[in-house]
Amino acid sequence: MKKIEAIIRLTQYESVKKALEEQDITFFSYFDVRGVGTAREGHLYRGTVYDTSIIERRLISIIVRDENLEKTVQALMSAARTGEIGDGRIFVSTVEETYRIRTGESGPETLYIK
């Protein structure tokens, strides 16, 4: 199994979610992270610009069977893209085992993402 971690713009989340659903990927987890990188938002407080390089982003984490890796990455990539600097990144790594807590079963076949 593969773990796909995509760091995307907060504002692209809805369209990413939709794109994933269209690929029958309806199970995933996400949380908000702050990304440090080149994209910058200029903030202003009481006349002092605090030109920060810290950006709110959403990290989507999906564990898929190996055969679903490609289509998931593609769906993520096209839906998260705006073409502007700051679109984010995807990282892929290996997951060795998974368990469904409710039943105690293990193995890739217990992933809802068939």
Binding site: H43, L44, Y45, R46, G47, T48, V49, Y50
Partner: protein, 404 residues
């Protein structure tokens, strides 16, 4: 007691109750403009300012301020309790508590709680009532040929707080990370709290200024109504002008600064609210709205004195400015027989009196505050440890975070 006297007492009490509520306003502004990790601490300081102030002003402060006709000092009678004058004790108490509260904002996020309490005691029981006596208690500033005129306390209350705040913020030094080569912004954690605080302060000012008429019977009623209008127009003008100034200067209208702008207008009109026209009030408020922006920038970026809420500019600078403007905008005979502002052909005699008052009270508050803070720094210590500051005063000074 006849109906008119009862009416006057009723009005003073209601005005005092409104001014009391300003404590909540100050607490919210200071909480909103600082970081979440220090919010319980700043509220505790505000809360204790009022608790201490109420007790101390009753125990000794009111007597120092109003207890006698000396040029520099009233009297030293303990536990004020004069039947028929308790409404005045109350009204003066809520004023006194304001001065201390101003300082807590400028020194927020780094001042030791125990030391702050000692400071709060001294300013409410000593610093404020003494200079207050000079102006309102029959002291030397009120007996000059052209008397110093500060109707509701631009100088007596706000500048005293503002200059003590300057002494304190300068003595204690900036928050960690505020100045490292350049000036950094440390955004306040909750602008809604800040805005609600300003609404509450504006509300309370309708007790602060109109209540300072100390009566509403007879012709006082129209005077009070006039003060309500001047107060409101100055605040509105201050807010509006500050918004446009920030818009032009920074490209975008800045909310936190605009909130300060309303307060700047309110502080500035406090001295002259009873003696200027509505138009005069709007102008004073508008100019204060410009002044506060440049003053905040100057103090922050040039003086490098770190004042998280802008208290020095709002209360010190705009308080002094507003007091001075009385000398320019006072309507003919409004301050006294034959005295008018410069713009009404009155010459500079009033301006000079105003300057004398501004400088003498300002020097008293600043130097008094400075000595006090230096002594506290050398003895109890004024500042929390670096670790405490980094991790938050709430956890370290009170053992608990405010948001859970």
């Amino acid at each position: 007691m006849d109906a008119n006297s009862a009416l006057d007492i009723l009005w003073i009490l209601i005005a005092g109750i409104l001014v009391f509520f300003m404590q909540a306003g100050f607490a919210l502004v200071e909480a909103g403009f600082t970081r979440a990790k220090n919010v319980g601490n700043i509220i505790m300081k505000n809360f204790m300012d009022f608790a201490l102030g109420s007790l101390l002003f009753w125990i000794v402060g009111y007597s120092i301020m109003y207890g006698g006709e000396g040029a520099f000092f009233g009297a030293f009678d303990l536990f004020y309790n004069v039947e028929g004058d308790m409404h005045n004790l109350f009204f003066q108490t809520v004023f006194a508590a304001t001065a201390a509260t101003i300082v807590s904002g400028a020194m927020a996020e780094r001042t030791k709680f125990s030391t702050y309490l000692v400071f709060s005691v001294v300013i409410t029981a000593v610093i404020y009532p003494i200079s207050g006596h000079w102006v309102w208690g029959g002291g030397w500033l009120s007996t000059m040929e052209t008397p110093f005129h500060d109707f509701a306390g631009s100088t007596v209350v706000h500048s005293v707080g503002g200059w003590a705040a300057l002494a304190g913020a300068w003595t204690i030094g900036p928050r960690l990370g505020k100045y490292n080569g350049k000036t950094n912004a440390i955004p306040g954690h909750n602008m809604v709290l800040g805005a609600l605080g300003v609404f509450i302060l504006w509300l309370g000012w309708f007790g602060f200024n109109p209540g300072s008429q100390l009566a509403i019977s007879g012709d006082n009623a129209n005077a009070v109504a006039g003060i309500v209008i001047t107060t409101n127009l100055a605040a509105a003008a201050g807010a509006l002008v500050t918004m446009f100034v920030t818009w032009f200067r920074y490209g975008k209208p800045d909310l936190s600064m605009t909130l300060n702008g309303a307060l700047a207008g309110l502080v500035a009109i406090t001295a002259g609210c009873a003696v200027v026209s509505p138009g005069g009030a709007a102008i004073i408020g508008a100019v204060a709205g410009v002044l506060v922006v440049f003053s905040i920038e100057f103090i922050d970026k040039k003086l490098k004195v770190d004042d998280p809420v802008g208290a020095i500019s709002v209360h010190g600078v705009c308080g002094a400015f507003g007091t001075l403007m009385v000398g320019f905008f006072a309507l003919p005979d409004a301050i006294g027989e034959g005295i008018s502002g410069v713009f009404y052909g009155g010459g500079f005699s009033s301006v000079i009196s105003q300057l004398i008052g501004i400088v003498s009270v300002g020097a008293w508050a600043f130097v008094g505050g400075l000595i006090l803070f230096q002594v506290l720094k050398a003895t109890m210590g004024l500042r929390v440890s670096e670790q405490e500051e980094r991790e938050g005063l709430d956890i370290h000074e009170h053992g608990q975070s405010s948001y859970n």
